[in-house]
């Protein structure tokens, strides 16, 4: 779960990491009220689950209340990288003297947590050579190591202790909340020598959420994401018109790639997990039916243990009960596939023996319509 900036800053504040004064606003009225409390100039920052909003010119400085009134609605209703902001954070403008970078992350290849720190903040960390990487124990960083990193980040005594404390507090936060990433970019030193986290990027380990009821309030799920969670599916909504459904994340990803190679566009990724039952397939179809962009459903199921006749029955019922109305193409390998084909002999579903054939049929089912649009 990726937290929004303001949510991450709430955790920072709770952990004793200093952040600027700020308020989340979702209407002009709220924004103007907050503006008078924060004072001018202030910064407006759209709250998104994707990065790169600065480069997109979506972080705006407002000098006056009129400025906020003029720009707020536009910012709130403009998609950035395909995503609409979930509120605008209004934040006190800080006079910056130095910008640093600190992040605490799950180091996959080393199978531990590591800290990256750099005296060059505000840039993409991949592009800077001036950085140090320190591996830390699972239980958190030692005071000694935190001071050593602070020493590398600044030669000025006055800020060393606050920097070290921030690193220690960040470590405590990562351990307590089971974050996979907690990044402060930039960590700034203001002209009055305060050390402040100007931005936050925190990713919580989804699999640990059962131990963190206090974080559930930060979760935002669409109707489909909620349904997927309830049924134990993995689901990602995409922009195309072909829903790709299967058992196993790798298999569904692989199907996505093959569809894209053939010129198709996936509109949904749905992995209903290892053990397919009639009911789980039926629920998956129901979920897909709620997505307006979907024109075709493609099922890729590699069975073995799964009885494919059960899958066929779920599809048959899906049509009969009016849950799905779009054409469906399925590659279902496993036991009883002849029986499955028989169940689906009539109706709008077609079964194939190979993935390639089912993909070709799915793409062909969409193209006549596109031809009509062009011709």
């Amino acid at each position: 779960m990726r937290l929004l900036e303001y949510q991450g800053k709430e955790l920072f504040r709770q952990s004793g990491i200093k952040v600027p004064r700020s308020t989340l606003a979702s209407s002009i009225e709220e924004a103007i009220k907050s503006g008078s409390e924060i004072g001018y100039p202030l910064i407006m920052k759209p709250q998104l689950r994707v990065g790169g909003r600065g480069k997109e010119g979506a972080i705006l400085k407002c000098m006056t209340e009129a400025d906020v009134a003029n720009k707020f609605d536009d910012l709130l209703h403009t998609k950035i990288k395909g995503e609409l902001p979930r509120g605008i954070l209004l934040e006190q403008a800080i006079d910056i003297k130095e910008e640093l970078y600190v992040s605490y992350f799950l180091n996959r290849s080393k199978r531990c947590y590591s800290i990256i720190a750099s005296p060059e903040g505000g840039v993409e960390i991949e592009s800077t050579k001036n950085k140090i990487v320190v591996d830390v124990p699972l239980k958190g960083i030692s005071r000694e190591t935190a001071y050593r990193i602070a020493n590398e980040l600044s030669y000025r005594e006055v800020v060393k202790e606050p920097i070290a404390n921030i690193i220690l507090n960040l470590s405590k936060l990562v351990v307590e909340k089971e974050a996979e990433l907690a990044e402060i970019n930039p960590l700034v030193i203001s002209t009055d020598e305060s050390v402040i986290a100007l931005d936050s990027k925190i990713i919580i380990d989804d699999n640990s959420l059962f131990r963190h009821p206090e974080l559930i309030k930060y979760e935002y799920l669409s109707e489909q994401e909620f349904q997927a969670r309830k049924n134990g599916f993995s689901f990602v909504e995409l922009n195309g018109n072909i829903a790709i459904v299967g058992n196993g994340a790798g298999l569904v990803m692989s199907t996505l790639d093959m569809v894209s190679d053939e010129g198709g566009n996936a509109g949904a990724f749905l992995d209903f997990g290892g053990s397919a039952t009639r009911d789980s397939i039926f629920q998956a179809l129901k979920l897909i039916a709620g997505l307006s962009q979907i024109e075709v459903i493609l099922i890729n199921l590699f069975g073995g243990i799964v009885k494919t006749s059960l899958v066929a029955q779920a599809i048959f019922d899906g049509y009969k009960e009016g849950v799905i109305s779009v054409p469906l193409f399925a590659r279902i390998s496993g036991s009883e596939s002849d029986k499955a084909k028989e169940i689906l002999r009539e109706g709008r579903a077609r079964m194939f023996d190979s993935v390639e054939d089912s993909i070709a049929a799915a793409i062909e089912a969409i193209s006549p319509k596109e031809k009509k649009v062009h011709g």
């Binding site: 993409e124 298999l251 290892g274």
Partner: protein
């Protein structure tokens, strides 16, 4: 180099009386998941000597004695291998219990294990000179001999290729394609779909690269992390010269989205398919465009 001999642990050597018949314990044997797969594993030929479910000690499941705890199960059977089939929140305690009793190989099936739990158990396993396969893995199968995991038996045939896979169903799909083309498998090894793997691709290669009866390797990777990149570098470093083929899933997936597996996520260039392709290319490892293309590329490499 690691001196952990996986085959020796799983099947032993031909001079031993229990060759190909090593005892395996199943933790969580009476759960719906554990019981279903215990029957299937037993049917495939795995010697399941005991099961563990707290509170069910003294019971018998399908002729297999069930114990309350690992201590009793290990003391009674002397097994060095366990398959963990408990729900993810109980995984860490089940794993700790196994290690405390001298288990040398844990096959960790559960999905959704918190990553800190995996690291904690991994560190403990290292101290105990034991190995973990997974979590979030379909397990391991030696086709025709035994399997510890949740994979179906049908896609696999006995042979000389090793399949190392980060994905479950793709391991089945790729092995099925290999089997159809006449390339049986010596071992199929599920690395697991999580960001942290008890045994990573490099370590898995180390476990099998000295076997004479293995003549080729297929790596089934996916977006996220840099395991394939590290693997490619390692193949160059150790000069592994038998044919290696790769398949990488997820090249058309959007960035910063978790594609089903906890580990299948791209940040910037880190974890991208492009990064993996370029590393594999440097190691002269051909990458198949689809699972069906894997045997074609393998045939070409074997003939070279």
């Amino acid at each position: 180099m690691d001196n952990f001999d996986l085959m020796k642990i799983l099947v032993g050597t031909s001079s031993e009386s229990d060759y190909e018949n090593k005892q395996v314990i199943i933790q969580g044997i009476t759960g719906s998941f554990g019981s279903t797969h215990t029957r299937l594993m037993k049917g495939y030929g795995t010697n399941i000597s005991a099961g563990v479910t707290p509170g069910k000690g003294g019971m018998s499941f399908d002729g297999i004695p069930v114990f309350d705890n690992m201590k009793d199960a290990v003391e009674t059977t002397g097994s060095k291998i366990t398959g963990i089939f408990v729900p993810a929140p109980s995984f860490l305690s089940a794993g700790k219990e196994a290690l405390a009793c001298g288990i040398k190989l844990i096959v960790a099936i559960p999905e959704h294990v918190p990553v800190r739990d995996t690291i904690e158990l991994f560190e403990l396993a290292k101290e105990n000179n034991a190995k973990i396969i997974g979590p979030n893995t379909p397990g391991v199968i030696i086709p025709g001999t035994m399997k510890i995991g949740i994979m179906p038996g049908q896609p696999f045939t006995k042979g000389t290729t090793v399949v190392l896979s980060r994905s479950g169903t793709l391991m089945y799909e790729v092995s099925y394609n290999l089997s159809k083309a006449g390339y049986g498998q010596r071992l199929c090894f599920g690395i697991g779909g999580d960001p942290i793997n008890g045994t990573n691709l490099i370590e898995a290669l180390d476990m099998i690269r000295h076997y004479d009866d293995v003549d080729s390797i297929v790596v089934v990777g996916e977006i996220g992390g840099d395991a394939e990149e590290q693997f490619a570098e390692y193949v160059i470093k150790v000069g592994y010269n038998k044919p290696v083929i790769a398949y990488i899933a997820g090249r058309s997936a959007p960035k910063e989205k978790k594609m089903g597996h906890a580990g299948a996520i791209v940040y910037g260039n880190y974890g991208s398919a492009e990064s993996k392709f370029s590393s594999l290319q440097k190691a002269h490892i051909p990458v198949a465009k689809s699972p069906a293309e894997v045997p074609t590329l393998l045939r070409r490499e074997i003939r070279r």
